[in-house]
Symmetry: C2
């Protein structure tokens, strides 16, 4: 748990696919594995990463395990990202292009 786990979880393609699959419905581990054509063991590993990141919750019905999104975590994620968004932009409208003299863009 923590932001490191969250981004690590999101960095994998298979795991992002799982999240997309669960956007509108809860699914069992078996169904997810089947749809992604990966082994149950491999899927279980990815689910554990997503659970560790708090991006999923699970519940049992009979001997099936259903997974669903924990959408509350995405709110926290947005908060973290917003710290890097543009805050105040200095007004440079009446100014010569100083950057062009100072910087040689690569």
């Amino acid at each position: 748990m923590g932001l490191a786990d969250t981004f690590t979880a999101l960095s994998d393609h298979v795991r992002r696919s799982i999240l997309t699959m669960l956007k509108n419905e809860a699914l069992t581990a078996g169904v997810i594995a089947c749809r992604l054509s990966i082994s149950p063991a491999a899927l279980s590993y990815h689910l554990s990463q997503l659970k560790k990141a708090d991006l999923l919750t699970e519940y049992k019905v009979k001997n099936y395990v259903y997974y669903e999104l924990n959408s509350t975590l995405f709110d926290e994620l947005i908060l973290w990202i917003k710290q890097f968004e543009n805050k105040e932009r200095p007004d440079v409208s009446g100014q010569q292009n100083v950057a062009a003299h100072m910087k040689e863009w690569v």
Copy 2:
């Protein structure tokens, strides 16, 4: 470039530190490496990952290379995350707790 690259870039602790350092000022590669106590070569690798993800831009002054945030990409990122946020929640106020019967939370 692409969301996969973005999350992969953000999944690493060193790279998130770099972004945090660049939040308020542009810094040279050398200064960043020094502050993080990693070798210039290792830093260069991480910078390349962040550039690949479009999270940074660079410019040269003399033989220094300055790096700064490309904050526009964070907007796109937020858009992606918002797809997983809670949309409409069905109204279950007049309903018995069916979930308690159906689900055994783990």
